[in-house]
């Protein structure tokens, strides 16, 4: 706590587009009073001040190189609550796409004969390196959800992250289901909380928020196959944001 009793929070970024941090800045447009209840002590994207005595750390981005692990551990040491901010941090997100190709080949493709200059390994979510208390899913995060999570943390509640599928929010918004237009959508297996924003704007859910805890993947695959997708197509749509999750599952199954 700071002298004024406000909890101190800090933001950190790893491999990411910084869109989630930007969404935090955007959330201030609607909720400038956030600054009355917390004290932001680190936010490199938006401020130069650097305080080291934070209690809540929001971490954006995936861990994609060994040299980042120490920094993550230091954050964990200091913070009493660590929150993964966005899909990169929560599930490795799009960063994990590079893992679909052999690593050395990927490095050479981009940096040619200088490939060894640049350190990298397969993208991993933050909780593969340090224990994470909560995650705010989404690519990018939903700004209302961010505010809701902050409020819950301040009240000592579990952050209200839904564990039901996007379809719930989608139907309540009275969207015409993407499937009736002959296209496919991952809404039935994807964690809600985004307000089904993609189907609402006429686009399929790509599972950026990751899967619910108990998805019926077998039935989902049947639905996709029925819609005309090949095994290859299915694999491809399942790897946009959830490559890491899908791989973990496969590994578990052996």
């Amino acid at each position: 706590m700071s002298a004024n009793g406000k909890p101190k929070i800090a933001f950190f970024d790893f491999t990411s587009c910084e869109g989630c941090q930007l969404t935090v800045v955007d959330s201030l447009q609607d909720h400038p009073e956030l600054l009355n209840v917390v004290e932001i002590v680190q936010f490199r994207e938006a401020m130069s001040e650097k305080g080291q005595d934070y209690q809540i750390a929001f971490i954006e981005g995936s861990c994609t190189r060994e040299s980042d692990e120490a920094r993550l551990k230091a954050i964990r040491e200091q913070a009493s609550v660590v929150v993964a901010l966005g899909t990169c941090a929560h599930l490795a997100g799009v960063n994990a796409l590079k893992g679909l190709h052999p690593l050395e080949e990927v490095r050479k493709y981009v940096y040619g004969d200088k490939w060894e200059w640049y350190e990298t390994y397969d993208a991993r979510p933050i909780d593969a390196v340090i224990p994470v208390d909560f995650a705010i899913p989404g690519c990018p995060i939903d700004r209302n959800e961010f505010i809701a999570v902050v409020k819950a943390l301040l009240l000592g509640k579990k952050p209200p992250i839904p564990d039901y599928p996007v379809c719930v929010e989608c139907r309540l918004k009275e969207n015409v289901c993407i499937y009736t237009k002959g296209k496919v959508c991952l809404g039935p297996v994807t964690r809600a909380g985004c307000g089904a924003i993609c189907p609402t704007y006429g686009s399929s859910c790509e599972a950026c928020r990751g899967f619910i805890s108990n998805p019926n993947q077998d039935s989902m695959k049947d639905v996709l196959a029925e819609a005309g997708l090949s095994v290859d197509d299915i694999l491809q749509i399942y790897t946009m944001f959830t490559t890491y999750q899908v791989r973990e599952k496969l590994l578990q199954k052996g």
Binding site: I147, K151, C167, R171, C177
Partner: protein, 346 residues
């Protein structure tokens, strides 16, 4: 009460005049489908519509509503939620009308629910006779909801260039008197009404293979049918079925708080028995942990439990859940299959 005639032009004027004093909602087109929406001009209405994505229930039991507001200071001073405006619901199909009658029973009996009932009392319902089936999923005729004798304030039947209006309540009568220019039906009108109604019935197929009065006992006898497991294997647990249902009324209650962490509100929002957490208690025990049990619960409610408790069937045959389901779980399919299994077994 005598039958009244409202020309289509007079209907437009009727709606336009009501707009001054009422919130008016009715079927409007949206992305190739239809939704019940508040309108601001009669031209937004499309009274000849197949079905809507969500039922008109949402005006009586909003998807999310404030139960009351509180402040955490001084232990919470409680304030009432905002008032709802007087509302006219236009173009309600008779299946949805039956569903509203069930909801009225649910929320007025036992512990009286002021939130629903206040809205209900402020709502005037103008229903409309369906003259052809919405699509292959509707099975209103089998469920006995293809017409309604009560539950409406006014009821319209489309006679081409005019509507025949049945007056159901005093409120309906007053609404008509105050805002509409009507004429009393003459012999020709009545003849045409009879002709329209007689022509309509054969257009609707019976889709259950048995009489609906047998439904509760078919379900009761099939508690252990292997069908539930089959449904559970297919079900995505996406809750589309219950979210679009005109009779589902389960809800969740939550506290929300402003960023000052002092003021807040308690809200209720639609919930679904198909979701994992619906029956989970502290310690993680889930009383309906499998999708199979949850599907069974859903159909039992629709065809039996709700009837036991509230004297109305929990399914009105609108077909919305069948349209919404991505894995083709439909009440007609399920009920007929249970009937078939039972016949085969006996």
């Amino acid at each position: 009460m005598s039958l009244t005639i409202l020309s289509k032009q007079a209907f437009q004027d009727f709606v336009a005049r009501m707009l001054a004093d009422y919130r008016v909602a009715g079927p409007t087109p949206k992305n190739g489908s239809y939704v019940f929406e508040e309108i601001h001009d009669p031209s937004e209405l499309c009274m000849d519509y197949p079905t809507t994505l969500l039922p008109p229930k949402k005006f009586l039991l909003p998807t999310k509503e404030v139960l009351f507001k509180y402040t955490r200071q001084n232990g919470g001073v409680l304030q009432d939620p905002p008032e709802t405006p007087p509302t006219v619901l236009l173009g309600v199909h008779t299946c949805d009308l039956h569903a509203i009658q069930l909801l009225d029973t649910v929320f007025s009996s036992g512990h009286y629910d002021v939130h629903y009932m206040n809205r209900r009392k402020k709502t005037i319902i103008v229903s409309i006779e369906c003259l052809s089936p919405c699509d292959e999923h509707s099975f209103c005729k089998s469920m006995g909801t293809l017409t309604a004798d009560e539950g409406y304030d006014l009821h319209l039947t489309d006679l081409g260039d005019r509507y025949a209006v049945d007056v159901g309540t005093k409120a309906g009568e007053e609404l008509l008197a105050k805002y509409a220019t009507v004429k009393t039906a003459d012999k020709e009108d009545i003849q045409q009404l009879n002709a329209v109604i007689s022509a309509k019935w054969p257009k609707f197929p019976y889709r259950l293979d048995f009489d609906v009065s047998e439904l509760p006992s078919i379900l009761e006898l099939n508690m252990k049918s292997p069908l539930w497991q089959e449904l559970g294997d297919r079900c995505l647990a996406c809750a589309a079925c219950t979210n679009v249902c005109p009779t589902c009324f389960c809800f969740d209650v939550k506290d929300e708080v402003e960023l000052n962490l002092v003021d807040g509100q308690r809200v209720r929002q639609w919930d679904s028995c198909q979701l994992d957490e619906f029956a989970t208690v502290a310690g993680g025990h889930n009383f309906r942990a499998s999708r199979a049990l949850r599907q069974r619960h859903r159909f039992m409610r629709k065809g039996k439990y709700i009837l036991d408790a509230h004297k109305h069937l929990g399914c009105v045959g609108c077909g919305r859940c069948a349209r919404a389901c991505l894995v083709d779980i439909t009440p007609v399919g399920v009920f007929n299959e249970l009937y078939r299994q039972q016949e085969a077994g006996s």
